[in-house]
């Protein structure tokens, strides 16, 4: 028995399928043509949290408000320091250009150089803050680094950037998504960031209002480790650090610091970690402070890195280990922790700024600095 009886021709099928495919081809041609002619808006791939932060920091470096002090670094710089609060504590303008994704140090240096080029005479000082994971693993995210570079350089066409593959590029979907949709349509963020910031556009406004700083809304779940964690510098960091140093503008003083880790993750029992506030962080009663608990590990890391980076001075007084309940994740402090850490950073910088950054020699001082 015949199962099917066909009452159509091949021409019918071609017309049926060909019509929509032709329409898609026309769309692709239009997008490619408009992009080629430069009639489409510039790429603005602010479609997720990483890229919103990158684009915001790139724009802030080019057209943002003036700043005496610029903060640079990985997500621990972005999330652990409140630029507005730090500015209030120090009585100067502070701008945070930290990124969420792991961008290489040379590109971070370009961010600083771009800021200096568009803000003559600024910044007086820059602080580079990296997390020990970044120093140890050097996990550079090539895609996000490329996004930032492209935006800083004003490059229009994307070559190897999108993850959607060749089809998406040929069909003009990338152009539509990154040049048009991302500008007009807010995209919801993921996880706890979605609850805190909502959408890409709202995160942008938050970063603007907070001079480039953000806060991690997650809740830290302590993961006790047996024994002490070891931190060693990734050899590949040397070239990156030197490239960054070469991009620091003349007249800008560079300080460098290592951001803290939770006590639970370096084998330091939370109970034994004192809670530093202000100067107590450095000289607490009995000397039992969080900074001191991990001081050896942190300072070794910082001084080793400083050999390559050549900052004017490493910020050796910053605590390396903090109580786990200050944290939102392994690398980020929570809101309360961030406030306290910002105050600690302010204490660390106040003396140096009071001495006058202009009086700090622009040459390279002993990277090990004064031992505390």
């Amino acid at each position: 028995m015949t199962s099917h009886e066909y009452r159509f021709t091949q021409r019918d099928v071609v017309r049926l399928v060909g019509g929509p495919l032709l329409a898609v081809a026309l769309f692709a041609a239009a997008m490619q043509g408009l992009a080629w002619l430069g009639w489409l808006p510039r790429p603005w791939p602010a479609l997720d949290m990483d890229r919103v932060v990158l684009l915001h920091q790139a724009e802030a470096s080019r057209s943002g408000a003036a700043a005496d002090l610029v903060l640079l670094g990985d997500s621990s710089c972005l999330m652990n320091v409140d630029a507005v609060r730090l500015g209030q504590r120090l009585g100067i303008e502070v701008l945070n250009l930290g990124t969420l994704s792991y961008v290489d140090l040379e590109t971070q240096g370009r961010l600083l150089a771009t800021f200096a080029a568009t803000h003559p005479g600024q910044p007086r000082a820059a602080v580079l803050l990296l997390h020990p994971h970044r120093l140890r693993l050097r996990p550079v995210d090539r895609y996000h680094t490329e996004v930032l570079q492209r935006h800083l350089e004003g490059r229009d066409r994307s070559d190897d950037l999108t993850g959607s593959g060749r089809l998406g590029r040929w069909l003009g979907l990338d152009s539509w998504r990154e040049r048009v949709l991302s500008r007009v349509l807010p995209w919801p963020l993921q996880g706890a960031y979605r609850v805190k910031y909502g959408f890409t556009h709202d995160l942008w406004h938050y970063l603007e209002a907070n001079r480039g700083s953000a806060v991690d809304p997650n809740r830290y779940e302590a993961r006790a480790t047996a024994g002490s964690a070891g931190y060693r510098l990734a050899p590949g960091l040397e070239a990156e650090s030197r490239a960054f140093r070469a991009l620091v503008p003349e007249g800008t003083v560079l300080w460098a610091g290592v951001t803290p880790v939770p006590a639970d993750e370096v084998g330091v029992a939370s109970a034994s970690v004192a809670r530093p506030t202000g100067d107590a962080a450095r000289t607490g009663p009995g000397g039992a402070t969080a900074s001191e608990a991990g001081a050896g590990m942190g300072k070794e890391l910082l001084y080793g890195w400083s050999e390559w980076l050549k900052p004017v001075e490493p910020l050796a007084g910053l605590p390396f280990v903090l109580p786990s309940d200050w944290f939102a994740s392994s690398t980020h402090l929570n809101d309360a922790g961030r406030e306290r850490y910002t105050d600690l950073l302010a204490d660390e910088l106040r003396g140096r700024l009071r001495d006058g950054v202009s009086s700090v020699p622009s040459g390279r001082s002993d990277p090990r600095g004064p031992r505390r």
Binding site: H4, R7, L167, G198, F199
Partner: protein, 402 residues
């Protein structure tokens, strides 16, 4: 599955999820309904038992509608396996359109509304505006998701020469709760009517028993979605709505309750009939008294009632549904509410526009009446939309879990 595991655990049984998944594979409730209806129809002598095992197995496991319906009656689908299928150009055209529109509804509308819904329903302390917008988002998400699947099933079946029933007929255009249930998940609501409500006695045993039957049917319909109190309350909510509507109708002299529409499932037409014809019939059956003369007040009341039901349905628990209900009195809003609104409007507009067009023209396949070039442009636009959002990673169909 999770509900069953929780229920078994609560009853003291050890619930092993991987084993349960083997015992209860995806879509089991849909083909259980389908085989039950066959058995009951044979028992009631409404159909003659088939002696063709192959056709019967094909009827039970027909892949386009296997996992999430529409729940087909043996009287409609089984005969289609027993005779040659005729596939015409219009069948292909209708099938392609339904597949594209179904994919668009799923990938572009439902999957982009999903994070908005999570934002509202996962908030431990939501505010009133967020509850309202989140509930609207869920109402459109579940509709786009489920009707998208149904369209895909119909479209795929159509290009293979089969005809499945319409499962949705513009449900959010309904002017009362009863009409809503004639338009929403029609294959389930008619199944519950024919095999549960009528088996319980229907409306043949007096008003009090009719109300009890209705209540039981709707509560069991709610329970079918999961062993959780909020599903029970959702069923109860709709039962109360239907009872309220009955009382309202009976209190208005000269008005009689609408007759139960005869779906095409009651008598399958031979294949050469165009879907277009059945679409027009479907529209007429959905609202025989000129559906779109519904007053705005009646529509607003109905849509508010239905959407509050969605709040009960989607809330993670009954307690959270109560928290969200109380939040309706708190009109503080998160700073990102504006973005939420923009996103909601952007992703619901294509769906609403199509519904309005379908309603105004009284044709579920109105897009096929466009000139060839316009039809190609529209289909191309749908395809671009699907490709644009495809890579974001589609989420599973909501009704796969039921």
């Amino acid at each position: 599955m999770d509900s069953l595991a929780e229920l078994l655990t609560a009853l003291g049984f050890r619930a092993d999820l991987p084993t349960l998944r083997l015992v209860l594979p995806v879509g089991i409730s849909f083909y259980t309904f389908q085989t039950l209806s066959y058995t009951l129809d044979v028992y009631r002598r409404q159909i003659v038992a088939t002696r063709d095992l192959g056709a019967f197995l094909a009827y039970v496991s027909f892949f386009p509608q296997l996992v999430a319906g529409p729940i087909e009656r043996a009287s409609a689908l089984l005969p289609q396996f027993l005779q040659p299928r005729v596939i015409t150009r219009s069948h292909l055209e209708e099938g392609v359109w339904l597949v594209l529109w179904g994919l668009f509804k799923k990938v572009v509308v439902a999957d982009n509304l999903a994070p908005l819904v999570e934002m509202a329903f996962d908030q431990p302390a939501p505010s009133g505006p967020l509850v309202v917008l989140g509930t609207v988002a869920f109402g459109f998400q579940i509709y786009a998701d489920f009707s998208g699947y149904s369209d895909l099933a119909r479209g795929l079946a159509r290009v293979l020469g089969f005809e499945l029933r319409w499962n949705f007929r513009l449900p959010y255009g309904a002017g009362n709760v009863r009409e809503f249930w004639r338009r929403w998940h029609i294959s389930l609501s008619t199944w519950l009517r024919d095999y549960l409500y009528i088996s319980l006695g229907g409306n043949r045993r007096g008003p009090a028993r009719t109300r009890v039957n209705l209540l039981l049917t709707m509560v069991l319909g709610g329970l079918w979605h999961g062993a959780a109190w909020h599903f029970v309350v959702w069923g109860l909510w709709h039962a109360l709505g239907l009872l309220g509507h009955r009382i309202w109708e009976s209190a208005r002299p000269g008005r009689t309750a609408l007759a139960v529409p005869e779906d095409h499932g009651a008598g399958w037409k031979p294949a050469p009939q165009s879907l277009h014809q059945t679409a027009a019939q479907a529209m007429h059956q959905a609202a025989p008294q000129a559906a779109y003369r519904t007053s705005w007040v009646a529509w607003l009341l109905t849509i508010s009632f239905v959407f509050y039901g969605w709040l009960l349905f989607r809330a993670p628990s009954l307690g959270h549904a109560w928290v969200m209900t109380k939040a309706l009195g708190d009109w503080n809003s998160p700073v990102w509410l504006g973005s939420y609104g923009v996103s909601l409007v952007a992703f619901t507009t294509p769906l609403v526009a199509m519904q309005v067009w379908q309603a105004r023209r009284g044709d579920l396949l109105v897009a096929l009446t466009l000139p060839g070039w316009a039809k190609a442009l529209l289909q191309g636009a749908l395809l671009v939309g699907v490709l644009l959002f495809w890579e974001k990673g589609a989420t599973s169909f909501i009704y796969f879990q039921f």
